[in-house]
């Protein structure tokens, strides 16, 4: 039903668990994938594995905190493939720290990666996004409900949600802009949290962790024509945890 044949995806944080799942799904639907990550070597290895011929995948280094990197990857995507049809910002940093013990540098680092980085990528992509294109920003349940010992992360994700809606207003009707807020997704990132609060799983209505593939499926929907009247929206992928007490 979803067909991304010939569409160009620019994906940041593409070597993370969720990023890789998004890349695999879009590639399976026919997309050309421009994959960026801070981990240049790991990204290149993954891109080779995804698309051994290298015709539909391009791996690039991008440090989310550098505006110049965002410009560079957008230009490289356009130089190679002519345009950008979908931008998905999945780069992020999730560190644990209570506000009372948080250094200014820690605060700034989280905001820089999780919020500034989204701004840089969106701004860089705007001139190159094709008519009918889409942006999906990966936010987090933390952006809606706050997050104990992750205030910097939650603040940045809340900012990403507002940035998303504002961009939806600015870029309509040419480009749609939405967000996806994952909850607890299988992978190393949630292990310390589950260890400290094991009740999170029984408190989740679906009684389990989500998978990166399940996040990718929602991102694909929002980037597809199936969602062509959906903009400024945020979809939770958390098995109902956002409505649980």
């Amino acid at each position: 039903m979803i067909d991304f044949s010939g569409k160009v995806l620019l994906l940041t944080g593409a070597n993370g668990a969720i990023g890789r799942a998004i890349a695999r799904l879009f590639h399976r639907h026919g997309a050309i994938c421009v994959l960026t990550d801070l981990d240049e070597v790991g990204m290149a290895d993954f891109a080779r594995e995804l698309d051994p011929g290298g015709r539909r995948a391009l791996a690039l280094r991008q440090d989310a905190v550098h505006a110049g990197d965002a410009e560079h990857v957008a230009e490289a995507a356009v130089a190679r493939f002519g345009r950008i049809d979908a931008l998905v910002t999945a780069a992020g940093l999730y560190r644990e720290r209570l506000v009372g013990e948080m250094s200014e540098a820690e605060w700034r680092q989280s905001i820089a990666i999780n919020l500034d980085g989204v701004f840089y990528s969106c701004r860089a992509a705007i001139p190159h996004l094709s008519e009918g294109g889409a942006i999906v920003n990966i936010a987090s349940m933390a952006g809606h409900r706050g997050s104990y010992a992750h205030a910097h992360y939650a603040a940045a994700k809340g900012g990403t949600l507002s940035l998303t809606r504002s961009l939806a207003l600015e870029l309509a009707p040419r480009i749609r802009v939405n967000a996806v807020s994952p909850g607890l997704i299988e992978g190393p990132m949630v292990q310390p949290l589950i260890a400290r609060k094991p009740e999170l799983i029984p408190n989740t209505p679906m009684r389990r962790l989500g998978t990166a593939e399940e996040v990718a499926g929602v991102v694909a929907f929002l980037c597809s024509d199936l969602a062509r009247f959906v903009t400024g929206e945020t979809i939770h992928v958390n098995g109902g945890l956002h409505i649980a007490s």
Binding site: P173, R176, I235
Partner: protein, 256 residues
């Protein structure tokens, strides 16, 4: 690929408009579809059109606000198509009985009209869910999508207080049932359409619809098919970990 093949779907208010589009989209994705409508003729027509395309379908006439009527309709659907795995609560009314031809304001709205809107728009969802959830529990999976509205989240001049109240209530209904039924493997979500080009909408003055169009970032009204695609996504395997979600299909209007 979407996981709809072989599933049985019950769509209320499926005779026309958004409901018909949702039912047809599920049919196209490979599901068997029960077209429920209070207008038997419209239900028959929609089901027959689906059958002509090779879809396993049945028409069921029912008043969703009436328990016996709903139970009889669900029994007929199950008998014909098998256990229901997907329920779409779409049936809804939005009376325009005000003295100016628009929705009645408080003071001119009768208690009878208030109750009728609650019966169809809200109690109907409760009665249908009550009737189909046992089948979903038995299967250990299922999904329910209710059609709410952006008018359930914020003030919308076009509709009456009864309509807004029921659409807001469907959001509470959705979130509560998502929590209650999650352990049974049942997802419960809602869509909140903005201004969609349907027969119901054409009952509204053209200038009111034009005002909404201009206030909608995508600068157009939506189509029933666009609402249907979001419903189809929410009932697909792709949205297996999405529950308790209310998804606007509103072109960015209000972004509530």
């Amino acid at each position: 690929m979407t996981g709809h093949a072989g599933k049985v779907v019950l769509v209320t208010g499926a005779g026309r408009g958004i409901g018909r589009a949702i039912a047809d989209a599920h049919a196209e994705a490979g599901a068997a579809v029960a077209y429920l409508d209070h207008d038997a003729g419209l239900a028959e027509e929609a089901a027959a059109a689906a059958a002509a395309r090779g879809v396993k379908s049945v028409a069921v006439a029912a008043d969703v606000g009436d328990e016996a009527s709903v139970n009889a309709a669900v029994a007929k659907a199950v008998e014909t198509l098998g256990p229901i795995g997907i329920l779409i609560n779409n049936a809804g009314i939005s009376p325009k009985s005000g003295s100016d031809g628009k929705r009645a304001r408080l003071g001119e709205m009768s208690a009878a009209e208030w109750r009728r809107v609650l019966d169809v728009n809200l109690t109907g969802a409760f009665l249908c869910a009550s009737a189909v959830v046992p089948f979903m529990r038995a299967a250990g999976r299922g999904s329910i999508v209710s059609v709410s509205s952006v008018a359930g989240k914020t003030y919308c001049d076009i509709v009456g207080v009864h309509y807004a109240a029921t659409k807001a209530a469907l959001i509470g209904f959705t979130k509560h049932l998502a929590g209650e039924l999650g352990p049974d493997g049942i997802t419960v979500n809602a869509v909140a359409p903005g201004r969609i080009d349907t027969p119901l909408m054409r009952g509204t003055a053209a200038e009111a619809n034009e005002a909404v169009r201009l206030a909608t970032p995508l600068r157009r009204l939506g189509s029933p098919e666009e609402v249907a695609q979001t419903c189809l996504f929410l009932t697909s395997d792709q949205a297996a970990f999405v529950t308790g979600q209310v998804c606007d299909v509103a072109g960015g209007w209000l972004m509530t």
